[in-house]
């Protein structure tokens, strides 16, 4: 099309939009501006003027435009402006300077967004339900949902019930029965309870400033966490933040620390890896280097026996639901409690297993939720000793010939050495059932019975919460030892054989793994190519401009307080691309980089989620951290430890898009196989942001505009809704449905593949000695020692009973042969800790998602298995044994104090026979931190169990946490706090 016609057409389109859509007319009325479209050499152009809502235009070059959009050549202009727009053409023009913009950044962004609004203003979303109620959709960490809205207020949140137009569900046949999942999504509590969190009394509704903070005078840093806050305007708040960004950048490279939690609300664009990621890269920040904190033992341990580095050392799970139901005779749940945190899709499948008469065994010091629900034999080993139990199983298997000899012979390396160790030939100690009894307290006869049953029956090993890793004993001080034993047990039974594999039916539903929709770890709009999974698909599928953080400094997450207070911190990199990635050291400060001047904290609360978290108070009250801005939705434990607080809004108050449990490549590829249906939802902006809150994206955009980078941040005026459309276009969904239909209905169920085209059973190719045929692009081609796709990622290409990669490092707690090393979190073995005779488990929470859903307005707080309300305050529940309670005069529902030298926390006692005496179990995350006295140095009433957990690594050469066997003492709470922190206890 000719340029003159295109530009004339554009003006007519603007006028029509203003005529038909009052919202667009209002938008035009917002500014009086003159915008010039032109060729760079001024040889042709058209100006458009907005004046008091009127749209005027003229051909040619205006003498005084407020902004100009110019094109290098006529051909480029015509290609750029002719609909339908080709995103690749547009970004090619932008990044190669074929198109440019002149004028104030803020105005350019406004004008560009106005042009896109011309298209989006006419879009219709949601389903009219009558009586003024509209049904929208959204996505949450707990699953996709319907959201009923009336008069701008959320009425209700429900699971999504599918209709006849949605793709059919899969079914599978096992032992004469046919199973098919319910035609709806199931929801976790933290998804269903979200309305209460939206309208929570803990919502931050306005920008706030600590009352005694003066950015140009006395900052009163020592009062962080103590002083009150006052409301300020957005302009004042943003001006202070930008002033501090500029001050910090002037001090030196990397002086801004960008710090977020591991999770955020659902959605590909609001996610921290997306909107915050782009912000970090454009500002240039020192990033926080996380550890694989829910997978520690698998990543640092099991990986060295079989590779699977890009699965964090956990095994494949494809096809295991069908194989388990068809073939398995027993499932051993080892430190495995899938009925929490991630909803109940797998629970439905486990009910089928029960119906089929598959036997269940549970190994966990706590008769966990899944175990209580399913029933079966319960083993309660002393925490931290599980590896002894596992080795005794190996002993029986070897002594009685109950292992897969052919698999061991053909597919593994180092078995003779392992056998010699187990039989005690090497060290004179047979790892017999009797030997383990002194460690675990499990009777030898029961271990023999289990070993024989397991050796004779086709058994699935559900290791960790997901059955294929995650949580549980893998997060304990001996987590690496335990996860290594899980891998070894699998190898001895020939994992991959029909009916013998890893899993507990939580992963491996027969969904379509080829249908593309981006997962959140693909980075959304971040443009980050190396520290996200962007390069896997998103970068090609959704053409966008790459961004890059030029700061070469990071701080290991566990040691942020040490980095600030002591000026240094060291760790090992979480590099999943190859096994050797984890041996690379990193440290702060990096050469040529500055020390931290300010922290940009984004959501979450370290007090409730990071270990030994009294350290954070000390850090925040130190002059060594001159400025803290905290951008959060709710007032959480950490929020008060800031100078400026920026109010973000919930997922209901802005646009986003996402697929249920689709994380994307990199960490947990194909995580959506947890679900019975793949469900993609547009996350409608259901209501207006509460108070003056804004979406995270919009807050970052405001900061960016003040730094002259609004146009770059928004890639030329894209709003969140525009990004959603780009994600839709990038996905396979666009081949099956239209944007218009999707936007209205709100969700899409991905069709399943025909039964014969389902993914192969995980690990079977290896069992059968074939090339890899499961649908994951791992390991990297270079990591195969021989032919591509043949064998494992290990140096021998085989399963290694004796790890070759661990021979490359000298780590006392990770010897190449996984010999039993008793835990030092044992009062019997650690004389410094005799005052703390109880072992504390701090597993993932059941009802909230980490701290999300634990805000003080959430209905989740009404669940007495989560918190108990006493005198108007909600205390975190701690599960304690009837025996330990009796010895201390504690009754059910009494307030109790748990403490050690690191911290002291008041909880509500849940007295039960479901936990092994000597063990206390209390969830790991709390949104609230409520010190009874001086912050950081008194008893917490809020429930931050992590105050008690140690900061040290699992083993020397790792950057890892171990919050799962910490020693504590407990008493009935007296109401008087005398606890003080002892800094120098081993």
């Amino acid at each position: 099309m000719k340029l003159a016609i295109i530009l004339w057409g554009l003006v007519q389109a603007l006028k029509l939009a203003a005529l038909f859509f009052p919202a667009f007319a209002a938008r035009v009325r917002e500014r009086n501006i003159i915008a010039q479209f032109k060729l760079q050499d001024n040889s042709a152009g058209r100006w458009i003027q907005f004046e008091n809502g009127k749209i005027k235009s003229g051909s040619g070059i205006h003498p005084k435009p407020d902004l100009a959009i110019f094109f290098q050549t006529r051909a480029i202009a015509e290609e750029f402006l002719t609909p339908p727009f080709d995103q690749l053409v547009r970004i090619d023009a932008a990044k190669n300077f074929k198109v440019g913009m002149d004028g104030p950044d803020e105005l350019v962004v406004w004008f560009a967004a106005t042009l896109t609004f011309m298209t989006t203003v006419g879009w219709k979303s949601g389903t009219d339900m009558g009586n003024g109620v509209k049904r929208y959709t959204n996505g949450t960490n707990g699953g996709p949902i319907f959201v009923y809205v009336k008069d701008g207020k959320i009425v209700r949140i429900t699971p999504i019930e599918f209709d006849d137009q949605d793709a059919p569900s899969w079914s599978l046949k096992a032992r004469g029965k046919t199973f098919t999942p319910p035609r709806k999504t199931s929801l976790a509590a933290h998804g269903l309870a979200l309305k209460s969190s939206v309208y929570s009394k803990d919502r931050i509704l306005y920008p706030m400033k600590r009352v005694d903070f003066d950015v140009n005078g006395n900052r009163n840093i020592q009062n962080r966490g103590k002083s009150e806050f006052v409301r300020i305007s957005w302009d004042e708040a943003l001006d202070i933040v930008v002033q501090e960004i500029k001050r910090s950048k002037a001090v030196g490279r990397g002086a801004i620390l960008a710090n977020s939690g591991s999770h955020h609300q659902w959605g590909n664009f609001g996610h921290y890896l997306s909107a915050f990621g782009r912000f970090i890269n454009l500002v240039g920040c020192t990033k926080v280097m996380g550890s694989p904190d829910s997978w520690e033992g698998w990543f640092w341990g099991a990986m060295h026996h079989w590779g699977n580095s890009m699965r964090l050392g956990t095994p494949e799970f494809y096809g295991t639901v069908e194989d388990c139901l068809k073939e398995a005779e027993m499932i051993v749940f080892w430190s495995s409690d899938p009925d929490k945190t991630y909803g109940y899709e797998g629970t439905i499948r486990r009910a089928w297993a029960k119906e089929l008469g598959i036997k269940m065994v549970h190994i966990d010091p706590y008769l966990n939720h899944t175990a209580a629900h399913l029933g079966g034999k319960w083993f309660a080993p002393k925490p931290g000793t599980d590896a002894a139990l596992a080795q005794a199983l190996c002993h029986v298997w070897i002594a009685e010939g109950l292992y897969d000899k052919k698999f061991v012979e053909d597919r593994t390396h180092g078995f003779d050495e392992w056998k010699a160790y187990i039989l005690g030939i090497a060290d004179g100690v047979a790892k017999s059932p009797e030997w383990q009894e002194t460690e675990t307290s499990i009777p030898a006869r029961e271990v023999r019975a289990l070993a024989r049953e397991w050796g004779r029956k086709k058994t699935y090993l559900g290791a960790g919460s997901w059955g294929c890793g995650l949580g549980g004993a893998g997060r304990g001080p001996m987590g690496a030892q335990w996860a290594r034993m899980m891998a070894i047990l699998g190898a001895m039974q020939g994992y991959g054989r029909p009916g013998v594999n890893f899993g507990n039916l939580q992963f491996g539903a027969p969904v379509d793994f080829s249908f593309y929709f981006p997962g959140y770890a693909e980075g959304g709009m971040s443009g980050e190519l190396t520290q996200s999974a962007n390069a896997a698909n998103n970068y090609q599928r959704m053409p966008h401009i790459v961004t890059m953080n030029s700061v070469r400094q990071s701080i290991p997450r566990k040691f942020i307080p040490e980095a600030i207070l002591e000026g240094k911190a060291a760790g090992f990199v979480t590099d999943v691309s190859t096994v050797q990635g984890q041996f690379q050291r990193t440290g702060y400060p990096a050469a040529g980089h500055a020390k931290i001047e300010m922290m940009y904290k984004y959501g979450s609360s370290s007090m409730g989620t990071q270990i030994d978290s009294n350290r954070y108070v000390k850090m925040y009250q130190s002059e060594k951290l001159p400025f803290v801005v905290n951008q959060s939705i709710w007032w959480e434990g950490e929020t008060r430890y800031a100078d400026i607080v920026l109010p973000a809004c919930t997922v209901f108050e802005h646009w986003d898009i996402g697929e249920w449990y689709n994380v994307g490549a990199g960490y947990v590829h194909h995580m959506y196989s947890m679900n019975n249906h793949r469900v993609i939802s547009i996350q409608h902006k259901c209501i207006e942001p509460l108070g003056e809150s804004k979406s995270d994206h919009d807050i970052f955009l405001e900061v960016m505009k003040r730094l002259g980078m609004g146009a770059i941040y928004s890639e030329g005026g894209n709003t969140e809704l525009d990004w959603c459309k780009r994600a839709f276009d990038s996905s396979d969904m666009s081949k099956h449905t239209t944007w218009k239909k999707f936007l209205k209905k709100g969700y899409y169920v991905v069709p399943n593949v025909p039964e014969g085209a389902r993914a192969s059973v995980g690990n079977r190719w290896f069992y059968e000695g074939r090339g890899k045929d499961t649908p994951e692009p791992y390991p990297l081609p270079a990591d195969y020692v021989g032919d591509w796709g043949k064998g494992l990622q290990t140096p021998t290409g085989k399963f290694e009973f004796v790890s070759q990669t661990l021979k490359n490092i000298d780590d006392n707690l990770r010897p190449p042969l996984n010999k039993y090393i008793p835990t030092y979190e044992d009062p019997k073995r650690n004389p410094n800790l005799v005052d703390y005779p109880l072992q504390l488990l701090s597993p993932h929470t059941r009802y909230p998602f980490h701290i999300m859903g634990d805000d003080r307005g959430s209905a989740i707080r009404d669940i007495k298995e989560h918190r108990l309300r006493v005198d108007g305050r909600e205390y975190l529940t701690a599960v304690i044994s009837a025996e330990d309670a009796k010895a201390r005069g504690i009754k059910h529902d009494d307030l109790i104090r748990l403490w050690n030298h690191r911290g002291s926390v008041v909880c509500a006692a849940y007295v039960t026979n479901r936990v092994r005496p000597g063990v206390v179990s209390a969830s790991t995350a709390s949104a609230e931190y409520r010190p009874a006295g001086e912050p950081g140095n008194s008893t917490d009433l809020g429930g931050c169990i992590n105050l008690l957990n140690p900061k040290e690594n699992i083993t020397e050469h790792t950057h890892s946490i171990k919050p799962n066997t910490t020693l504590i003492q407990m008493e009935k709470w007296t109401g008087v706090d005398t606890w003080r922190r002892a800094e120098a206890v081993a």
């Binding site: 309870a193 899709e345 319960w378 006869r445 019975a449 049953e453």
Partner: protein, 284 residues
């Protein structure tokens, strides 16, 4: 006969996920439904609540959960104390406490033998779970407790009373406190998991000088000479005999493995489910 609403609750399927509890709060907190229910106050009301029952003693323990709510009784004690027609029994069986007419009538709360009616201090009204009548009247086919439950604990049925009686007999359904004759419309399956006790133990036998778990041991429980339960030990030597009435007193337990080994024991059933510990078979 006209079709009426009933709710069947299967205790064995409840995982305490709390979705029914949360869905009811989601539905009613902040929402007024005139003619059906005024908004529920935050925190203090649990119109649908979950009762917990733990049975057994470490290391043989169980935990069971049971959703409880207004039973929509056909002979509702609350209706007998209500004044000004504050409570109506709809033709479809649902009991509705009128949020206007019931003002000030705290007696309605006290009248409910199930503790299922809650007093709203602020509005001075009694409130209970309304079976989502407001949604059913709009065409919903099931209440939110059923919609939100991932493990199919609930089954709302609109059938006539004769058919419901047949279902009750066929599926062995109980109601709460049948002795009160309130004729509840909420029925329970596997209620014994909440109300009865079991006896358990771990049986051991000497095999060539080594203690082994004794599998397939015949376990017979008798009372006053008549058999009340029988099972076999599993591969771990464990047994469990269930559905024993709490506080039912003394029982005799007989264990035998073939003719070579046996053991007898006495067991008293009180409030709790006893675990007899390790029972070592003796040669006969």
């Amino acid at each position: 006969m006209s079709a009426k609403w009933n709710l069947i609750v299967d205790v064995a399927k409840c995982d305490n996920c709390r979705n029914c509890f949360l869905a009811t709060k989601d539905e009613h907190i902040g929402n007024d439904f005139p003619g059906y229910a005024a908004a529920q106050p935050e925190q203090v009301h649990n119109w649908v609540d979950i009762k917990r029952k733990e049975r057994g003693i470490y290391p043989i323990a169980e935990a069971h959960f049971m959703p409880v709510m207004c039973n929509h009784c056909d002979d509702a004690p609350c209706m007998k104390v209500a004044k000004n027609g504050a409570i109506t029994k709809r033709a479809d069986g649902i009991v509705i406490i009128d949020p206007e007419k019931s003002k000030g009538q705290k007696a309605i709360v006290d009248a409910c033998p199930y503790g299922a009616v809650f007093w709203n201090e602020e509005r001075q009204i009694p409130q209970a779970w309304i079976f989502d009548a407001h949604l059913l009247d709009q065409g919903w086919t099931k209440p939110r407790v059923e919609q939100s439950c991932p493990t199919s604990v609930f089954r709302a049925l609109k059938v006539d009373d004769a058919e419901m009686r047949q279902i009750q007999v066929k599926e062995g359904l109980d109601v709460l406190h049948p002795e009160l004759n309130t004729k509840p419309r909420v029925y329970y399956k596997n209620l014994h998991l909440m109300t009865t006790c079991f006896v358990s133990g771990s049986v051991v036998v000497d095999v060539n000088g080594v203690d082994e778990c004794a599998e397939n041991v015949d376990v017979v429980l008798t009372r006053n000479g008549s058999e009340v339960g029988r099972t076999k030990t599993d591969v771990f030597g464990e047994f469990k005999i269930d559905k024993l009435e709490a506080r039912s007193g003394r029982y005799e337990l007989k264990l035998s493995l073939g003719s070579a080994h046996s053991l007898s024991a006495q067991v008293d059933i009180g409030d709790e489910s006893p675990y007899l510990g390790v029972l070592k078979l003796k040669g006969t």
